[in-house]
């Protein structure tokens, strides 16, 4: 963090140009300030889903550099989704994965539904359970980036999610190549039906506009970074790729893409002056790789993706000082590393700017972040057995969808509006209706029966959450630790006092200590447990409804 100006000087200086200058005091230089639970929690909230105290403590102990190294060490890929409520497949049973098997030919509808339910639940469970690992946040970043929806085949979706997980912080250029011929992408943006005689421009347009380089400002009737002609020529270069076996009911088949020589345009394609009139000679099955390489020769690609990473991890406003002080050095790092994402991310996440107190907590939670932050805080994903874990994950998925984020169906190829729509960005997640939906979940999480399925109630275990804290019987420390765990910045004393008033209305501290100790000593006394938990829930209710809980 840069020099702090005395407050009186700031108010004197606040003309609009000066204000710009003030913001630019943040820089990409390595952060060397204090490393406490606030900074560590901030880093983990942005790079993982809803870290708990255990992970935040671990990061504090590791220090900034080691924490980032740990974050970027992806480790083995997560285990694939499993059947949890469908046992009619001839070759598979509950607890086994379906990702390498055909759909049950005798029961395709039910099997398809079961796979989607399983995928939904797995998505929530997997993203919640990473520890200090950036993989799932990046997986979602890429999912939003490529915006694929519209096809319900769970295997196809799983295949591209697995690619995102595998690449995560890997080589961006390679990922674009992979996705260009992904079987689902070929369907999503019409590559499948694009031929030399009738090239379809859909993918060619989006790879430029949304996936790699962006339009840049409109100039006359065309764009800064490419022209309509380039769209036409690229469309020809991508012809010939098709996909098959999506939703297959045949053993041994899996969704795949393949190249059909006679559908491919073998002419030499010539790009516009934006690409220095580059020529793309016929290269058949390998031509798409040459095209991607050609696009990536434009430095604008590095700036385009770094802006998107910045908005995702830091804040949506990019002024000139951020552009020159943050985006440009990140883009340089990205190019220096041949478009491998990791080093540029390390630079951003280690920077003074990232730890500026203005940045800590300045992102309104996405529905995914919001649901995780409640489900994880009450340890709801761990139900003790596979079936109930998946049922819990599936409940979370539906909540996320109710809040305006259908994970399997991005609203368009541009992804969710909250990540690109000027001027509101993340604020678009919240309106009077979605605010109510979020509060509805708070109500569910605090009601006696929580969610119910298969005839059983599954309450959220808020008393269990207390075991993460050092001395849960001491109310002041317990409140301090819980607010530090669940909120990005410290509350002011009167907010803390109000929360405590909810826990202990007009009562002394020792009442909580005594009641809590009594409950620990008599764990099987349900009445005792209920009365302690009810007091705690009053406080949690106040905490989860704070405006501060909507940001991270």
């Amino acid at each position: 963090m840069g020099t702090l100006l005395p407050a009186i000087l700031i108010s004197f200086m606040l003309t609009s140009e000066m204000f710009q200058a003030l913001v630019s005091s943040a820089s990409i230089a390595p952060y060397t300030g204090p490393w406490t639970a606030i900074e560590a929690g901030h880093l983990l909230r942005r790079t993982t889903f809803s870290p708990l105290k255990t992970e935040i403590d671990e990061a504090v102990n590791l220090g900034l550099e080691e924490t980032i190294t740990t974050l970027l060490t992806l480790g083995p890929p997560p285990s694939p989704p499993l059947y949890y409520d469908y046992d009619a497949h001839p070759d598979l049973s509950i607890g086994e994965t379906w990702v390498d098997h055909h759909t049950n030919p005798n029961d395709a509808n039910n099997d398809g539904n079961a796979r989607r339910r399983s995928l939904d639940a797995w998505w929530m469970l997997t993203s919640a359970d990473t520890g200090i690992n950036i993989r799932e946040k990046m997986c979602f970043f890429w999912h939003n980036h490529f915006g694929m929806g519209g096809n319900n085949d769970a295997r196809g979706i799983y295949q591209f999610l697995a690619k995102y997980q595998q690449f995560a912080i890997g080589n961006f250029r390679d990922l674009v190549k992979e996705i260009t011929i992904d079987p689902m992408m070929l369907r999503f943006l019409n590559g499948h039906t694009s031929t030399a005689a009738n090239p379809n421009e859909n993918f060619a347009r989006e790879i430029l506009e949304l996936f790699t380089i962006g339009k840049g400002p409109q100039t006359g009737t065309d764009y800064t970074n490419y022209t309509e002609l380039d769209v036409v020529e690229l469309a020809k270069a991508f012809t010939g790729w098709r996909s098959r076996y999506i939703g297959t009911k045949v053993p041994g088949q899996a969704p795949e893409s393949y190249f059909t020589e006679n559908r491919h345009d073998t002419s030499t394609k010539t790009l516009s002056h934006r690409f220095n009139f580059a020529e793309i000679p016929n290269a058949g099955i390998d031509e798409y790789k040459n095209v991607v390489d050609l696009i990536f020769q434009q430095d604008e690609v590095s700036r385009f993706i770094c802006r998107k990473l910045y908005r995702y991890f830091v804040y949506y406003k990019i002024d000139e000082s951020v552009e020159s002080g943050i985006i440009e050095p990140m883009a340089q790092t990205l190019r220096n590393n041949d478009y491998t994402i990791g080093p540029a991310l390390v630079q951003l996440l280690s920077s003074e700017h990232f730890y500026d107190r203005a940045i800590v907590g300045d992102v309104i939670k996405s529905p995914l972040d919001f649901v995780h932050s409640i489900f994880k805080a009450a340890d709801f994903y761990d139900q003790g057995n596979l079936i109930d874990d998946y049922e819990a994950g599936r409940r979370a998925f539906i909540q996320v969808r109710n809040m305006g984020m259908d994970l399997r169906q991005p609203p368009s190829v541009a992804g969710w509006t909250s990540y690109y729509q000027e001027p509101s960005y993340f604020r678009l997640w919240l309106n009077t209706a979605t605010l109510k939906t979020r509060t509805d979940l708070v109500v569910i999480a605090l009601r006696r029966n929580g969610f119910s399925w298969n005839g059983d109630a599954h309450p959220f275990n808020w008393l269990g959450a207390l075991t993460r804290y050092d001395n849960p019987g001491e109310p002041n420390g317990m409140i301090a630790q819980m607010t530090a765990e669940l909120l990005p910045q410290p509350l002011v004393p009167e907010q803390i006092a109000a929360l405590k008033e909810l826990l202990l209305p007009g009562l002394q501290d020792f009442v909580w200590s005594g009641e809590y100790a009594n409950h620990l000593a008599n764990p099987n006394d349900d009445n005792l447990r209920a009365s302690v938990e009810n007091r705690l829930k009053e406080m949690v209710s106040g905490l989860l409804q704070l405006a501060e809980f909507q940001v991270h």
Partner: protein
């Protein structure tokens, strides 16, 4: 906000003791206390989501035979139509709306749509909710633009002491795009007004002036708005009442019942949007054994019975004069039915207005059904939906004409549809019509009186507002009931408005309602040319061209180098969308320009890719 209120637990809704419990029992008395009678008009929109089959809703009696030829599997039998007058009837399950029609409380407008009709649910809904043209980009809703005239800063500073109620309300879960404004949607979403979830306000503690503080403050404001609106909605719902017992168990009834309750409770919200879904009747819209049953019939009954119950309720509650309702749907359906006993996406469809102040009757002619009509043809529009919107704003919300003109790109044409309360109506004139012929406009009226009047004055206007006398006539002492004039002092182009002023035997004056007509052959609307679809082009690709009158247009097809490859003339039928095929066979792959020039020299250029 004091500190004790700073955190509240869920459900701890505080109800300020604004309304004593006795008030709700006497809603009429309640209004005189709380509502400013000068600004208490309410508009209720009912969106028929999915595209209503207008030809099975408002049925031309003279077209029944042809309807049976082109849609034999879905057309209604003659005895399944409720006759409204000599020429038009309603679907047989719309008895409630027929009652309203008979009382002069229902106005039907034939074939409402727009040039270059879009048949996508999403896009056409955007067009209808934005009040925009088919090719116009308009991110705000038509009612959002209207509300922003008065509330340009919304949501900053709302709710406040004066406007402590939602400016508009959408019933259900999803906010209506009709009320989208610049920064926010001006309508509040209410699903159950009795159960508005209170959210802990989150306090007014000081926040840092930085990004973090900005975002937390945004959330706090939203919570506060939600709560304040929520509290007042719940408060008025509890204070209000619903007295009608004829609501159905359906979704529209429950929404309208909630609206009636909120109105009776004194909520000052001016605009409500209700939705009835299920109109996308591609299959089984009727059951073959009884054409009145089936999905579409059920919807007609829910629509009709709910509106009737709502009007009854408002009358019992003493607020019927303050409420006007309007239906809309993103498109009508095709003239021909499909093989699945359903109908596919079409073009224009009828629109209904209801309330004590609508001009009752049917505006427009029955869509003519050609028994040889092609499969993909919809009903061409007679009235532009923006003309309906603009007229409602002018007459119902008493907006200045010029202001409303500025809300719609290209303005609108005033239609006398919502002006039933703006003059003393002559009960002695029981019908008046104005019909455009080749050379003159034929104005006819029928009278019904006990004592013969002294005479009539026929008045004409070119804007629907300023009338001048064009003919005076003495009443026929012989007791004739039928009068007619031929107005020849008219020209092709304008729309003329006519009314008849009656001087009664006692010297008092009253006027008939207003009728509109223009000479035959008058142009309607403006040229509109769509984009090539699909593009890149295939053998089926076409461009939709709306021509305001019969016309021959010239077209050219140029290649990327500007060479003219083809040219010719297109014979376009007036006042409807024409599909002009592109026939790209024989063209090599590449970029082309399709150019069309109208007889007036207006030029349209479209990019074509093969």
């Amino acid at each position: 906000m004091n500190r004790r209120n700073f955190l509240r637990t869920t459900g701890a809704l505080s109800l300020p003791a604004l309304l004593s419990s006795g008030v709700a029992a006497d809603p009429a008395g309640f209004f005189s206390q709380f509502i400013n009678p000068d600004s208490d008009k309410i508009l209720v929109l009912i969106r028929l989501s999915g595209g209503n089959d207008g030809l099975n809703t408002l049925i031309g009696l003279d077209q029944l035979e042809n309807l049976h030829q082109v849609r034999p599997n879905v057309a209604l039998p003659a005895d399944g139509v409720l006759q409204l007058n000599d020429t038009v009837g309603l679907h047989g399950r719309m008895a409630g709306m027929k009652d309203l029609f008979d009382n002069g409380q229902l106005g039907a407008i034939q074939a409402v749509g727009y040039p270059n009709q879009n048949r996508s649910h999403f896009r056409s809904t955007d067009i209808w909710t934005a009040g925009a043209g088919a090719d116009e980009t308009q991110t705000k809703g038509w009612l959002g633009r209207y509300l922003e005239l008065e509330h340009p800063e919304f949501p900053t500073g709302y709710p406040n002491e004066t406007f402590n109620y939602p400016l508009a309300m959408t019933m259900g879960n999803v906010v209506s795009s009709t009320c989208q404004g610049t920064m926010a949607n001006l309508s509040v979403v209410v699903n159950n007004p009795y159960n508005y979830l209170y959210i802990a306000p989150g306090g007014d503690t000081t926040l840092p002036e930085n990004f973090y503080g900005d975002e937390v403050s945004y959330v706090r404001n939203l919570i506060s708005q939600s709560n304040q609106y929520g509290a007042i909605v719940q408060e008025t719902a509890n204070a209000g009442a619903s007295l009608a017992t004829t609501y159905t168990d359906g979704t529209l009834s429950s929404q309208l019942k909630n609206i009636a309750t909120l109105i009776s409770g004194g909520l000052k919200t001016k605009i409500y949007v209700a939705t009835l879904g299920g109109f996308d009747t591609h299959s089984d819209q009727i059951q073959t054994d009884d054409p009145l049953t089936g999905d579409h019939g059920d919807l007609m009954e829910e629509l009709s019975a709910s509106i009737k119950a709502f009007m009854d309720d408002l009358a019992l509650l003493g607020c019927a004069d303050r409420v006007m309702g309007m239906t809309f749907s993103e498109f009508g359906r095709r003239i021909r039915s499909n093989q699945s006993n359903g109908t596919d996406h079409g073009d224009a469809g009828p629109l209904f207005l209801f309330g004590n102040c609508v001009q009752g009757g049917v505006l427009g002619n029955n869509p003519v059904i050609d028994p040889e009509v092609e499969q993909n043809v919809g009903v061409p529009f007679q009235y532009d939906f923006r003309d309906v919107y603009g007229s409602v704003l002018v007459d119902w919300f008493q907006m200045r004409m010029a202001t409303v003109q500025s809300l719609f790109n290209g303005g609108f044409t005033y239609l006398p549809i919502a002006s039933g309360c703006s003059s003393v109506l002559a009960t002695s004139v029981h019908s008046i019509s104005a019909v455009g012929m080749e050379e003159f406009i034929d104005v006819q009226w029928h009278t019904r009186f006990d004592a013969p009047p002294r005479g009539f004055t026929v008045e004409r206007s070119e804007d629907g507002r300023n009338f001048r006398s064009i003919r005076r006539m003495a009443a026929d002492v012989g007791g004739s009931e039928q009068y007619a004039i031929e107005d020849r002092d008219v020209r092709k182009g304008p729309l003329y408005y006519y009314r008849v002023k009656v001087e009664a035997a006692d010297g008092t004056f009253s006027t008939s309602n207003v009728q509109i007509a223009s000479l035959r052959g008058t142009r309607q609307g403006a040229w509109a040319v769509g984009l090539p679809r699909p593009n890149p082009v295939s053998a089926e690709s076409y461009i939709k061209v709306y021509a305001p009158e019969d016309a021959l247009a010239n077209f050219e097809l140029l290649d990327a180098q500007g060479r003219r490859l083809r040219s010719g003339t297109i014979n376009l039928q007036g006042k409807m969308d024409n599909r002009v095929p592109l026939q790209p066979a024989g063209l090599p792959a590449g970029h082309y320009v399709w150019r069309m020039t109208t007889p007036d020299g207006e030029r349209f250029v479209r990019k074509v890719i093969k």
